[in-house]
Amino acid sequence: MEYVLETNELYKSYKKVKAANGITMRVPKGAIYGFVGKNGAGKTTLMRLICGLQEPDSGYYTLYGRKNTDKDICKSRRRMGAVIEAPIVYPDLSAENNLKQQYRILGLPSFDGISDILKVVGLENAGKKKAKNFSLGMRQRLGIAVALAGDPDFIVLDEPINGIDPEGIIEIRELILRLNKERQTTFLISSHILDELSKLATHYGFIEKGCIIKEISAEELEKAIRKCIRVEVSDIKALCRVLDSMNIEYKILSDKKADIYAKIGITELVFALSKESCEIFSATEHDESLESYYINLMGGDKNA
């Protein structure tokens, strides 16, 4: 498999805090890599390192096969776009002029394509309004538009849907999926909104305390996540007694709902519950979410 980004034992400390504690990860070409971790886990540090904003204390990474110590690493970076933390926009310029400035920085011969990019991010009607008067969502979209200038084939997005309204979230999701599908653009995306990330990502990297604790593809994740039966009953205590007697793993969701992690005969369960005068209102098959997988991976609810 061809990798756009490979990191090997990357370390970075700020004074006594180890922000990156031996990060080793691989982002396959054409992937949408969901980067998942708590605040302060080291996601942004990793992004800063691979974008050249900071140098690792030790370890190395390769971008398109070029090592970070290679004097030509800048050539690999020219194929990248990024929005890390705050979107990079000139507040005193309009959306169009922001893109023109980015075109100048990239040395592009003409301003062709600017209107297409503005259309893609939904800012084609922003007109002469200056970026300082944009809403947070518009600024975020402009940041993505700037990152798209020059047709990069690897885009790094740090919390791209922060502050964006539901419609905007859908638009950005569709934009990412479209670019990935049509142009084979590789994405590295960090997000706290795991449900949203699960709709996009083809690969995941889970980071904790500056270390990658698990890398998994979406297909593997699909296989790994546990199936369960979500039941709604009239007496949750009775359900607990029955499941305990059957030695079955379960999780109480509310005073009427619970997830049962086992292949269980519904007739057998109904029969056992009826003896306890407990009625079943519904029973549906349910997949464990990315969120539950992440929480289990991090060691349970206390880490959530």
């Binding site: 050249g52 904003l53 140098e55 050539k75 990079i88 005193d92 400035q101 980015q102 100048r104």
Partner: protein, 285 residues
């Protein structure tokens, strides 16, 4: 590098950029008002005074340069423009040099404007038909003029390098701007203080009998030896010192002129090399 220069020039010089055009507006208004009020106050037929030049704007321009560099580079930091250039593959050395050249070009334009006003304002340099009344002699010839221009260009290049260095090698933009202000006023204060230090008498009192000194009380504050040499050198070395004494320089003293030019070149090169090294190592947030 060419791409960055193009982007930086456009960013700074673009129409509507107040931080760029305001210093230029001041550069035009201030000398114009100065010339007109001076001519009016002296009367149209009154000979020009014998001072060498009527408006030395060196410190004024250095201060404008401080304002311009501070606001321009601070905004570049704040807006994430520097981060953006690194992300898209620009080399840090080129980013630094591009900013420095942009600021230096601005300083050069200011110097040309300043010397244009000198040509207009100094009777010896302007065409005779533009002289009002009977001008006095300022003694400035074309050779002096070129020498002064060269010295001015060089010390403004040094000033631009110092401010670029202090801002781009600081951890954040506000610290950089603050340090630049401190550096400027320390440079200015030191060259204003030094003449006073050098004027301190070596002796407090001398007792003489028949023309022979029989008793003398040495002044403990007198600066002598190597310290005196260093103090004499500082105004020739610092851009602020060169600016203050610019039109008093005897251009026939080639060594003195060369010393000033070399000092500015040294400051420019050393701050730029050090600045690039520090900027390369900086952790950008």
């Amino acid at each position: 590098m060419r791409k960055l220069l193009h982007a930086d020039f456009f960013r700074l010089f673009r129409f509507g950029n107040l931080q760029f055009w305001m210093p230029f507006a001041i550069m035009i208004i201030y000398p114009t008002v100065f010339l007109i009020t001076k001519q009016i106050s002296m009367g149209i037929q009154t000979p020009y005074p014998d001072d060498r030049v009527n408006f030395n704007l060196a410190i004024f321009i250095e201060f404008l340069l401080l304002f311009l560099t501070g606001t321009y580079l601070s905004n570049e930091y704040k807006d994430g423009a520097i981060r953006n250039k690194i992300i898209v593959g620009a080399k840090r050395k080129n980013i630094y040099l591009s900013y420095l050249l942009t600021i230096f070009l601005t300083a050069l334009i200011m110097t040309v404007m300043w010397f244009t006003f000198i040509v207009i304002g100094v009777p010896d340099l302007r065409p005779q038909e533009f002289n009002f009344g009977n001008p006095g002699s300022t003694g400035i010839g074309i050779f002096d003029f070129i020498s002064y221009f060269l010295i001015a260009v060089m010390f403004l290049a040094a000033t631009a390098s110092i401010f670029t260095f202090t801002i781009l090698s600081s951890e954040n933009s506000s610290t950089g701007a603050f340090v630049s202000i401190i550096v400027f006023f320390v440079m200015l204060g030191s060259v204003m203080l030094i003449p006073h230090l050098l004027n301190i008498n070596e002796y407090n009192s001398l007792h003489m009998e028949d023309g022979v000194i029989i008793e003398c009380e040495r002044n403990p504050y007198y600066v002598g030896g190597a310290a005196r040499y260093i103090l004499q050198f500082i105004p020739d070395f610092l851009p602020t010192g060169q600016g203050i004494q610019l039109f008093d320089i005897d251009t026939s003293d080639y060594m003195h002129t060369a010393k000033m030019l070399l000092s500015s070149a040294f400051i420019t090169v050393s701050t730029t090399i050090t600045g690039i090294c520090l900027f390369k190592r900086r952790n950008m947030k």
